[in-house]
């Protein structure tokens, strides 16, 4: 018999492949199987309205990622075998890589855990499958980043204990606490925080600077990782967009809840990006663009288009929007200044930029650099040359929410540090901004549990077991570094005179000269 069977379209084929993956449970009531689907107050009437525009099956996923990974590892291998690290602009660039493996890669692993967890707790199969795939993407990213960067760890300091540091070192608690805040939220808030605010609204400000920074500075391994990951990012961003639309369209009661999450997570993400801004302006020997320029393109321009569209759902721009715009002239300089001062306690190097680099910053920041930041850096350089490289040995006060030292200035007044405080159950809590304060006040019972590195040091929780602080001559700071497993004099302090600097000069010299 010769019957013509109509070929299924891609969408129908996907439906056929995934048919029946979601079902109504009968042994236990649905609300007991999915307890978190409702407890945030988000109302969903029809889970089938979730749109999954990718419609990838697991089978296709493995095949696709398999080939991608093969290509990526071929490039990483070639890079390693040919001593590709010698091709970077100069050894200062490696500090951007250190910041990435210390502060960004562990977030990929957190994202893996987060998506695995929320995928379990959503009801609709479209959403469950999307979360499952992203969970796998994220662990792949963590692994491939680790492998791509491992070549640098063989030759440079500041990477050997990055995971250990992530759980202990003061500035790494900034990205760590950001992600733990998301991981401990409900499933819909998690999607709003990570998939929407971070992956969609802010990802271009994290990824593009690091990856184009790598490209400009001869770091082929990281660039290749970037290309490999970018082909997953569109799926991640789409998940964020679909999640927001889904919640806003399902019930009008969801709108104020989502608005509060957007306010919170825009600001949380923006604060974490301070580290990226600093990296762009100070840590790349060959600069791509200034933080200010990146913020204007990826933050302001795209954000305005997005919030214009979201206004139709009754969503306004995040509360911290104008303060974030105000900060574009300042935050990278204020952060670098802090790290320069606290460089004894940070396992990467800092330095005063060269004259040429200072001129670049002057040109890129006409409203702020010459007036507020350049004189300070030139003074530091003078002092350094005179043998007085200053390292601050006290501990800074941290913001209870973003955990960044109180280094930011008042909106509109770059000469006054911004302090906010609030009382809760007899204790005083400190904040860097109105927005971090408001985040705390919305959920004080969550943030009073924050593990603040400075508090922990003062409470004596950051010494190795058996250390006796009452011993004569006890140096608390050195005891903290010991607890960090920070190799003093190699991982930290100024780039000038560092082992990284000397080694790179020697290796590059060897590579470029004939040995007799």
């Amino acid at each position: 018999m010769d019957t013509q069977v109509k070929k299924l379209g891609l969408k129908e084929r996907y439906a056929a492949m995934t048919r029946g993956l979601g079902w109504e449970t009968t042994y236990q009531p649905m609300e007991k199987v999915y307890p978190y689907a409702t407890y945030e107050g988000i109302k969903i009437h029809d889970w089938d309205k979730w749109v999954d525009p990718f419609r990838m099956t697991m089978d296709a996923y493995w095949k696709y990622q398999g080939e991608k990974e093969k290509k990526l590892y071929a490039v990483i291998d070639a890079f390693q075998q040919n001593n590709g690290f010698l091709g970077i602009t100069d050894a200062r660039y490696v500090n951007a890589v250190k910041l990435f493996i210390q502060g960004v890669s562990p977030l990929e692993y957190y994202a893996h855990r987060g998506f695995a967890q929320v995928g379990r707790h959503f009801v609709g199969e479209g959403l469950r499958v999307a979360c499952q795939m992203q969970s796998l993407d994220e662990i792949r990213h963590y692994q491939t980043q680790t492998h791509a960067i491992s070549t640098y760890n063989k030759y440079f300091n500041g990477m050997h204990h990055s995971l250990h540091w992530f759980d202990r070192v003061w500035y790494l608690s900034v990205p760590k606490s950001f992600f733990e805040d998301a991981l401990t939220a409900g499933p819909f808030e998690y999607l709003t925080s990570i998939s929407f605010s971070f992956e969609y609204v802010l990802t271009n400000l994290l990824f593009v600077p690091f990856m184009s920074g790598a490209a400009y500075n001869g770091d082929l391994a990281t660039v290749t990782f970037g290309f490999s990951a970018q082909s997953d990012e569109s799926r991640h961003m789409t998940l964020g967009i679909e999640a927001i639309k889904f919640m806003l369209e399902q019930d009008p009661d969801n709108v104020p809840i989502v608005q509060r999450w957007i306010d919170k997570w825009f600001w949380r993400g923006y604060r974490v990006l301070t580290l990226v801004g600093m990296m762009m302006d100070y840590m790349l020997p060959k600069r791509v663009m200034s933080w200010r320029e990146a913020w204007e393109i990826y933050g302001e321009q795209n954000g305005r288009a997005l919030f214009r569209d979201l206004a139709r759902y009754g969503i306004r721009e995040p509360k911290g929007w104008l303060d974030a715009i105000d900060g574009k002239d300042h935050i990278s300089h204020q952060a670098w200044n802090t790290f320069y001062n606290y460089n004894a306690a940070a396992p990467f190097h800092t330095w005063v930029p060269t004259d040429e680099e200072l001129d670049w910053l002057s040109a890129k920041y006409p409203n702020s650099f010459d007036q507020y930041y350049r004189p300070r850096l030139e003074f530091y350089r003078e002092q350094h040359r005179a043998g007085n490289r200053f390292y601050n040995k006290t501990l800074p006060m941290l913001c209870t929410v973003c955990q960044i030292p109180m280094l930011f200035t008042e909106p509109g007044d770059p000469t006054t540090i911004c302090y906010r405080e609030t009382d809760y159950q007899g204790d005083k809590y400190h904040f860097c901004s109105d927005h971090c304060k408001e985040i705390f006040e919305n959920e004080p019972e969550k943030y009073v549990q924050s593990w603040l590195p400075v508090h922990q040091i003062y409470q004596g929780n950051c010494f190795k077991p058996g250390v006796d602080p009452t011993q004569p001559g006890f140096d608390p700071l050195m005891a903290v570094f010991d607890y960090y497993d920070l190799d003093f004099g190699r991982d930290n302090l100024d780039f000038e005179g560092s082992e990284d600097q000397k080694h790179f000069a020697a290796w590059r010299g060897q590579a470029l000269q004939n040995t007799v």
Partner: protein, 359 residues
């Protein structure tokens, strides 16, 4: 289409929709310009969102990243629509929701002669064209018109219902004079009965989604009445059982063409409600109807609640934009809002968020 050298035909499955594509045009660009949304994101071959399958013909893969488009995919004929360009006539299969209400009607090139020209308002002329052969179309669609001596073609929505076109062989266009517009000026100042034009159609994906079985709301303004008029006549002629509302806005009484016709239809069809409104009518006139802009009047009539309906919008961009906002605030979302989108080069330049696919 004529006048364009080295163009191929692009057919997009599962829609079965065909259109012309130039040799240096990307598949994505051609699809978008023909009103077909293929999901896309980065636009330059890095992310892989716009993956399509090339079923027939050959393409140049362009600048697709080896991480976004795998070797095994290339061998299987997968391409990224944002950077693939045709090397022959091409049939692609894309991740598009098959629209159960779309009829696959092939494009036709025909000639037409002007049978009648009539003033509908001080700025709008009705033009009736006698077609050289039958032109099946879905109410709401448009045709491209070419006139001797004027470069390129222009799009005009068909103003009468398919039933009437079939019965009379006459296709009606309502043409507003656009200041400085070569073709509309020609229609208003030079066109005469007996002139011959070239016509291609039907185009567009603006038609009633009957399968949804929901009440239908038409919001029309300016010269945007053509498609809704064709669609309303078509719905009523085929016994559509659900409520139909037309909110129709003009500046003043003199511009409110076909007002009598809709009043009559509302009297003879219980499911049809007609709400004319004027935005710039003198206070002192004897106009008894609504005053204000289309979106304001619609909001008032429906008490700001639009959920459960389907809305079809036709009119100037500012009106469309205001209506979308009003509808969404009244909890009617993208999936139930339809309008014909003519993407211009200026739109492509604008920074857009990816929040919406089609609105």
């Amino acid at each position: 289409m004529w006048g364009i050298c080295m163009s191929f035909e692009l057919t997009i499955e599962p829609l079965g929709y065909s259109c012309a594509i130039e040799e240096d045009q990307t598949l994505l660009d051609a699809a978008l310009r023909n009103g077909i949304y293929i999901p896309h994101a980065c636009g330059h071959g890095l992310c892989g969102t716009c993956k399509v399958k090339v079923v027939e013909g050959d393409v140049d893969f362009g600048e697709a990243s080896p991480f976004a488009l795998m070797d095994f995919e290339r061998e299987e004929g997968v391409a990224l629509a944002c950077c693939a360009k045709p090397l022959s006539d091409v049939v692609i299969e894309a991740e598009i929701d098959e629209d159960p209400d779309a009829r696959a009607i092939p494009l036709r090139d025909l000639t037409a002669s002007i049978e009648r020209i009539e003033d509908l308002t001080p700025t709008i002329k009705g033009v009736w064209l006698r077609l050289s052969e039958p032109l099946p179309f879905q109410a709401g669609q448009y045709v491209q018109i070419g006139v001797p001596g004027i470069e390129g073609t222009r799009a005009f929505s068909i103003a009468n219902a398919p039933q009437e076109v079939e019965a009379t062989g006459l296709l009606e266009l309502n043409i507003r004079l656009v200041p400085g517009g070569a073709m509309t000026t020609w229609f208003h100042e030079n066109a005469k009965v007996g002139d011959t034009l070239k016509l291609t159609g039907p185009h567009g994906r603006f038609f009633v989604r009957r399968s949804a079985n929901k009440p239908v709301l038409f919001l029309a303004g300016g010269s945007g009445l053509s498609s809704p008029r064709s669609m309303i006549h078509d719905l009523l002629a085929t016994g559509w059982p659900h409520p139909i509302t037309l909110v129709y806005g003009q500046r003043n009484r003199a511009e409110l063409y076909y007002d009598e016709e809709f009043r009559t239809l509302a009297q003879t069809h219980v499911q049809f409600s007609y709400v004319p409104c004027l935005s710039d009518e003198p206070e002192t006139s004897n106009w008894q109807g609504e005053r204000g802009l289309v979106h304001e009047v619609a909001k008032k009539v429906f008490n700001g609640q639009f959920s459960g309906m389907q809305a079809y919008l036709c009119g100037p961009p500012l009106m469309i934009d205001a209506c979308i906002t009003t509808l969404m605030q009244g909890r009617l979302f993208e999936a139930d809002i339809f309008f014909e989108k003519f993407i211009s080069a200026a739109d492509a330049q604008q920074v857009r968020s990816p929040l919406f696919r089609k609105i």
